[in-house]
Amino acid sequence: MTPLTAIWMKDFFVLRNLRRMLQRESVFKVTFILLFATGMMGGFFAMFLSGFRFLSEMGGGGFMITHRLFALFFLGLGLMLLMSNVITSYATIFKSRETLFLLTAPLDTRTLITYKFIESSLLSSWAFFFLMVPYTAAYAWHAHLGILFPVWTFLFAAPFVLLCGGIGALIALTAVRWFPRNRIFWAIMAGLVLGATVYGIVQIRPVMNENASFVLNRLLPGLQLASHPLMPNNWVAEGIMALTSGQWSRGLLLWLVLATNTAVLMLLVQWLGDGQFYNAFQRVAGAADLRRRPAELLSGLDKSLAFLPHDIRGMVMKDIRSFLRDPMQWSQALIFFGLLAIYFSSFRSFHYNEMPDLWRNLIVFLNIFSVSSVICSLAARFVYPQLSLEGHSFWILGLAPTGMRRILLTKFFLAALAMVAVSAGLMGLAAWMLQAGWALTALSVGLAIAVSLSTAALSTGLGAIFIDLKQPNPAAIISGFGGTMNLVFTLGFMLSVILPFGLIWHWHVTSGFNGTPFHQANIAATLWVVLLSSATISIPLWLGIRSLKHREY
């Protein structure tokens, strides 16, 4: 047996044991998770399908968008996959404890890097398939495509996933191996990227045709890039469509272009990994000792929080410092919110603010939806597991002269404060860029605050109820029953508060729903949000405190 075969066998054993563990789990828990996953996919399918139908009803422009949207979809997914792969490759190749173990085995670097590259590509790809399946299914349903459409889609998706994984691994390897660690260098780089982004946003002027009521690029400026013949996402989109419509030679040509490019990239990863992985690993291994850290991070903030009770101040500073010292945490938050901030900042460049009320109203609610979705996913990723991640050091909190109630409420207020600041700031920016009226601005900011507070409370409370101090892996904590329940509840809350206002305002701009009935409906919806928020803030926190107090450690 070769070492690589042994590694694959090990993964096979792990998967087999995971399946067995799943069989031992409670039926209710497994059914709940499966139903949730299926429900989400079904929801995505319905959303995509209604989107395609909406575009069809628009006529000529709609048909043009529908056709090119396929390429745009794979561009978007590809970019997300690429970013995800950069982070996952870094964690899988350099930071995993398994790498240390395998490095002491008689394994050549080429084998090690090949295995780690494929592992990180697979780990990053689940979300890609989770979104791709309902989208392509909706497209196939809408366009009445043949039964072989899913086969062609997977035929192209597999090399595309590896292609994005390859680029991500190359970026991670190159950055770790050669990029200077000097803080000034990184500050200059960050400044340049920020400057270039702002300049790009200001300079973007899509092609305008004053006579046209509707300009394609005005709505979707990424279409041109997505349809470029040199872009891999375009090979995927065009290739699938070619095979579906029976253009075999064109489809095969595009698949071969994609497959050969992927193969070359994989060779490049192997070659670079073989030559540079060990050097790069040495930089990571010595990094902790090379970095000169201040003895106390944010000591100024610590002093300015002197008005807080000493135990709360200690917990707050500990959590802030731990968060800032974990690049995996803040980089993900930065990517999510940074992308939204860049998108919202570009509204005026794309003249979204000059659109009719119907469109601006739609965009405002889509913005609320997107910011709230990001809040829910970040709460699931960071807030829910925070108590469990105290792990073996929980005894420090447990033995301290402070109560479980204070510990939990401190965690909640800190998370809520951060989430409210970011979400309300983003919604304010979006509304300002769209030149929305004061009422719509207040509504979007208010909804963002309600979602942030309730999501923080649900995640903190459920995180306490389903606390698992033995599990050091956040992914395992999140993917458990409590984590899934938390995601279901937060998403459910988000939809429950956004939809009533969405409907009221949609009728307002489309069906002349005005005057007293409109105001009364808004007051009723506001009361509903206040009541629901109060319940989702107080009940999970109360249950969480009770659970922590009665638990044996």
Partner: protein, 240 residues
Amino acid sequence: MINIRNLNKHFGAVQAVNDLSLSIPAGELFCFLGPNGAGKTTTIKMLTGLLRPDSGTIKIGEFDIQTQPVEAKRIMGYIPDMPFLYEKLTPVEFLKFVAGLYNINRPDLNDHIEASLRQFGLQEARNALIGELSHGMRQRLLYIGTFIHNPRVVLIDEPLIGLDPHSIRMIKDLLRAKVRDGMTILLTTHILALAQDIADRIGIISGGQLIALGKMSELQTQFGSNGTLEDIFLKLTSAP
């Protein structure tokens, strides 16, 4: 069997290992002692190839760890102080995986694994997941995995952490038996009584430099003490 020549390693301004030279012949159990931060773990990590020395050479058997890493690792075993084990594998699966990594194709592999599990008192746990095992059981499993390819050189960082008295006796007897069979073992420990009990030779490192080397009796003569290893160690490593 282990040859270290003029080894240096620094992290930033800190010189972790300073011009270390050491030879350990085959069939010797060598104990590497030193206070916290003296450079013991850094040296072991350089011996395994996990860290690259700034200068100097390391030979494991006839192989240079930097230029012939695969060959050197093939004859070497390593037990770190904080070992990594695959939580979702059973002990049998883990041992077969390690055997595969070292390309062991002996026909009696299954029998050998079963015998080892019996010897280390893990037979009852053969079907459990490693994540479900106690700390002591995991440590014992790690020893089986390390010895499965019959290495000529074994490096052990803190061998007795978290073990009960029975397991400690078992490990001590095992290490002595392996050394009698010709295996070379380098271990680091803070338990000075253990070093005094089982080591053929002892080296004391402080500030990255080897400050004492020899058999227990030689150290007593060299440093004018008839006391225990603890007395010598404290005398040598106390702050001036």
